[in-house]
């Protein structure tokens, strides 16, 4: 039987090649995902293992937990007195201590004065430490920076900007405007690559002068004296700090921060890994349809051969075993090819993740044993499981089948699968209804129930597709008056409804997801756009292009701009009520309603005073508060309370608490503006106002002036990037589905070679044969595409209903795009038919018609 299985693979290698490729594609994605995340993991492991001070002392806010590792809400703005550095250096357990100043507003400018690199990643600056054991930074070329005219630049930053040692470089500072020091050296991190964004390094005094204030540091690093453990040093430091009143301070050992970093990274990667794997398994799931198809067809073609084996004495088990063995061998081969492909996929994923804005460190290629095992288990497992049904049928072939001349596939009734399929769909409906009826607060639960409904509906649809195919194609067939090429094509699509529908289903699953994602995404985009239209009354908004707060100088430089009616700003600060975090927005109450349309339903913005706030109706419900109530909260600077004096309707992102600027400042907000809003006094002079605003913020590279359209465009761009990401991932399963069409068609062309020969003999041209096969592919693709987009539309709409409470208020179905999916999906079917059609048209008439 070994020999029989092996011989079969060799004999049918061309036909099995596509099946192998299909499985290999799925494996490649699964393996590639693992290789990608393992590789990143290893580079982050080296990040965790990088040199760091034995103890880091950093200030924190009341909202940061002691274990948060000094990542304060705005860590760069929190300070310690510089005098503390020497005090800590003097304790016996310490060998040395140094102050550090850091900021992420050190924008490096290119020749045009624009910020270097993409907007997202921070523009970091740090003071030079000079202790190798405490810092991952190393000078690779030149020398460390000394004095206000020298700066060291991260190698990656220098490469990006085309800088080299000795060049002048323009860097934005907080306190001295744009400075142009000389590059004294290039630095690298001890780990390979960077974390994205730019990094420049000044000496300590210069960093302090440019980005902080005299006698202040952002954090203090302490190195232990010989023989002193990190923990001992930490407790000694805590002892010193307890004698002072410096507010909340985090004291963290090097080990603690390393552990914490690795934990955080692992968490992040577990999610990414799961997310990506889901797409890989989707592709494999789609592939199972095609494997089942392939084996069913191969066995139908081999009926006589298998029957002969049975006739000469092979047992059912042996026939069953030989088919499974064949499947296992194919699975093994696919796993090997898939692993190799996985390496390519890992690079592809990297490029894709880079594309959505996360800049990843360069990572060595890591292929863990677990990846190898996973590839083998999944590859062989999926193939063998898919072949199980066909193998069972092969085992039931009676020995007498060897004597029959025709090996017509048994046409089993479609009724059973139709009934089961309808039951699944019937079951999906109450799930969908239930999901809509669950309390609006439980979005996750609602989504889970609706997700279950979607899975039921998809399985149900897959099961009833053969019946649908039979009915639909039967109906279309009836519409043709003559049995030319087109009618024959429909007939062919209809003659084996199971096979046709398995091929179509593979396509419809991918398209259903694609359509649903598109409906949800487009609705989200429209919803946000609508919120922007409804809420932003200002003609212009100035924000930080790097999604960070603005320096107050922005407001200062535009507040008296001519041609403006109102210029105002808002500041946001986090606060906690119980365990939940909310946003408090500070506004200038006399101007805010001119620039933001807040629908106040109780109280008024003008009546806000120190210590009082408005809250949106949803948050009010969540917290169980109303006007007149006092909410106890933890602010950045400690516990306190807010008295609620009014309620407004939340719209999209406009939610949380509203308070006056003095209230916000009293609870520890920094002098940083979230946005500056400007309305023009004369609508006809808007463009002049824009020009003037741009002129005034010319020296502040991170600030950008936007009107409503600009904001919407920016949001659209972000959505586009997300769409591309998801489409690229879903594209895999759709590619597998198209390969399935190629596979099914080439197998059925082979199966019908005598029929094609006959058609050629009675006068069908090669071109007509090609058209016949292509039309069949087109019908299969149309069926899959229509079913897929229909399910996608239904569930996309239902998910929008559920996410309405999360801000996706408006349903926007992108008909044009869905029309495009339908056309592209159908066209894909045509493309997939090219090769099988060509093979069919080249079939030798004589070999087809001559009797064996």
């Amino acid at each position: 039987m070994w020999r029989a299985a092996y011989r079969n693979i060799v004999a049918h290698r061309l036909r099995l090649a596509l099946t192998t490729l299909t499985v290999a594609l799925g494996i490649a994605f699964v393996a590639g995902t693992n290789i990608f995340t393992d590789s990143l993991q290893s580079s982050f492991d080296s990040l965790v293992a990088q040199p760091r001070p034995d103890v880091t002392v950093s200030p924190r806010t009341e909202l940061d937990q002691p274990g948060d590792g000094g990542t304060a809400i705005d860590g760069s703005a929190l300070t310690l007195p510089q005098g503390l550095v020497n005090e800590l250096a003097d304790i016996p357990a310490a060998e040395a201590a140094y102050g550090r100043v850091t900021s992420d507003r050190a924008y490096v400018l290119d020749a045009n004065g624009d910020i270097l690199g993409p907007d997202g990643p921070p523009a970091r600056v740090t003071s030079w430490v000079g202790i190798d054991e405490a810092s991952p930074l190393r000078i690779t070329e030149g020398a460390p920076p000394v004095g206000p005219d020298q700066v060291a630049v991260l190698v990656a930053t220098a490469e990006e900007g085309g800088f080299s040692v000795g060049d002048e470089i323009s860097i934005a500072t907080d306190n001295a405007g744009v400075v142009s020091p000389t590059i004294s050296g290039l630095v690298s991190r001890t780990l390979s690559g960077g974390l994205g964004g730019t990094l420049v390094v000044f000496d300590f005094a210069t960093t302090q002068q440019y980005y902080l204030a005299p006698d202040l540091v952002n954090s203090i690093g302490v190195m232990a004296a010989p023989g002193v453990s990190q923990d001992a040093l930490a407790s000694a430091i805590t002892g010193v700090l307890e004698t002072k009143d410096l507010g909340p301070i985090s004291v963290q050992t090097g080990q603690e921060s390393a552990d914490e970093a690795s934990e955080r990274i692992e968490e992040g990667f577990r999610f990414l890994n799961t997310f990506l794997l889901a797409f890989g398994f989707l592709a494999l799931f789609v592939a199972t349809f095609l494997i089942v198809n392939t084996f069913t067809m191969l066995i139908a073609q081999r009926t006589r051969e298998l029957a002969l084996l049975r006739a000469i004495g092979a047992s059912r088990r042996q026939v069953f075993g030989s088919v499974l063995l064949e499947a296992a061998l194919i699975g093994a081969l696919a796993s090997v090819i898939g692993l190799a492909g996985g390496v390519l996929v890992s690079y592809g994923l990297r490029a894709l993740v880079d594309r959505i804005g996360a800049t990843l460190p360069a990572a060595p290629l890591v292929i863990e044993n677990s990846t190898l095992i996973l590839a083998a288990v999944v590859g062989i497992g999926v193939t063998v499981l898919s072949a199980l049904g066909p193998a069972k049928r092969a085992a039931t072939i009676a020995p007498v089948a060897a004597m029959r001349s025709d090996s017509a596939p048994s046409s089993r009734s479609l009724r059973r699968s139709f009934v089961i399929g309808i039951s699944f769909i019937a079951l999906a409906i109450p799930f969908a209804i239930a999901s809509l009826n669950i309390s609006a607060d439980e979005t996750q639960q609602r989504a889970a129930v609706l997700g279950a409904s979607a899975v039921l509906a998809i399985i149900g649809t897959v099961l009833i597709t053969p019946t649908l195919a039979d009915l639909l194609f039967g109906w279309i067939r009836g519409a043709y008056r003559t049995s030319g090429v087109s009618k024959l094509a429909v007939e062919n699509a209809r003659r084996n409804p199971r096979r046709t529908s398995a091929t179509a289903s593979a396509l419809s699953i991918g398209l259903a997801l694609m359509t649903a994602v598109t409906v949800i995404g487009t609705s989200a985009r429209t919803s946000i756009g609508t919120v922007i239209e409804q809420t932003i009354g200002a003609d212009f908004v100035i924000t930080n292009s790097a999604f960070r707060p603005l320096e107050p100088k922005v407001y200062q430089s535009v507040k008296d701009v001519p041609g403006a009616d109102v210029v105002t700003y808002i500041r946001t600060v986090p606060l906690e009520v119980g365990e939940e975090r909310f946003t408090l927005t500070g506004v200038e109450t006399e101007y805010i309603s001119d620039v933001i349309d807040v629908q106040v339903t109780a109280g008024s913005l003008e009546d806000l005073a120190l210590g009082t706030a408005l809250v949106d109706s949803e948050t009010a419900t969540t917290l169980g508060v109303g006007p007149g109530d006092t909410v106890a909260a933890t602010f950045v600077n400690g516990p306190g309370s807010l008295r609620i004096v009014g309620i407004y309707e939340p719209i999209g992102f406009l939610q949380g608490f509203f308070a006056t600027m003095p209230t916000v400042m009293s609870i520890g907000a920094l002098e940083r503006d979230t946005g500056v809003y400007i309305t023009a006094s004369d609508e006809s002079q808007v463009e002049a106002l824009r020009a003037e605003l741009n002129r005034r913020i010319d020296g502040i590279p991170e600030a950008q002036v936007q009107d409503q359209a600009d904001i919407k465009r920016e949001i659209n761009q972000q959505f586009d990037v997300l769409f591309i990401f998801v489409y690229a991932l879903l594209g895999l399963s759709i590619l597998v589905a198209f390969l399935g069409i190629v596979n099914t068609l080439s197998l059925s062309v082979y199966e019908r070679f005598r029929e094609i020969g006959l058609l050629r003999a009675v006068g069908m041209t090669r071109r007509q044969i090609r058209r016949m096969i292509s039309t069949e592919a087109l019908w299969i693709a149309v069926l899959g595409t229509l079913l897929g987009t229909t399910i996608g539309l239904i569930y996309g709409t239902l998910f929008q209903r559920i996410l309405a409470t999360e801000g996706i208020t408006y349903l926007d179905i992108p008909w044009l795009q869905i029309g495009f999916f339908i056309i592209a999906g159908s066209a894909g079917g045509l493309v997939a038919s090219i090769w099988p059609a060509w093979r069919a048209s080249r079939m030798r008439i004589l070999s087809a018609i001559s009797t064996e």
Binding site: L488, R754, E755, L759, A761
Partner: protein, 251 residues
Amino acid sequence: MTEDRKPAIAAVDVRKVYGSGETAVVALAGISLDVPQGQFAAVMGPSGSGKSTLMHCLAGLDSVTSGSIELDGTEITELSDNKLTQLRREQVGFIFQSFNLIPTLNALENIRLPMDIAGQRPDQAWLDTVIDTVGLRDRLTHRPSELSGGQQQRVAAARALASRPTIIFADEPTGNLDSKSGGEVLGFLRKSVDELGQTIVMVTHEAIAASYADRVIFLADGFLVDELFEPTPERVFDRMKSLDTPGKAAV
């Protein structure tokens, strides 16, 4: 050969060699043959005599190594695949031993198939005549799987006749049939020649089948070795016996 009738097909010194050099196999060793219009010719010969190859070459299904074949005055040996396809569609009808019909089409659709492929409207009166001649009026909506073997071959014959081809090639049309059904099909072919003036070339190895023809052509080892007009089964059988190498006797 009747001189006053134009030949439907005329072959001159047709050679067909498979392979080359030492391994070359000569299937047709230079055959010249005319079949006049309205004649029912049977081609007989032992296995390997080249009778099927001859038919394939005459029908434009296979290429020749040398020689010329004119079908209704058109030289077909140099035609492109498209031209040959068109020629088959318009001037040639086929009846094969088995697998003659498209399983997804019913009897009527199968009969009309060559015209539907060509996008031509069939001549309804002629179609009716053909259908009535083969006696399939009540079976037209049946699919091939619902027809008996003899009925299937009659549908195939009707298809071959329906487009009024210059010539019909029948390759062992009764090979898979019992003698009664075979007789029906052969009787019908005979009738189409007598009543409709059809030209037919039939390859067979059955003496009884050959006896329905006007003329029997005997092939052996790629040569045209003998001819017989007005055949009877006995005469054909005798001729075959003399041609056949021992142990290869056709049944």
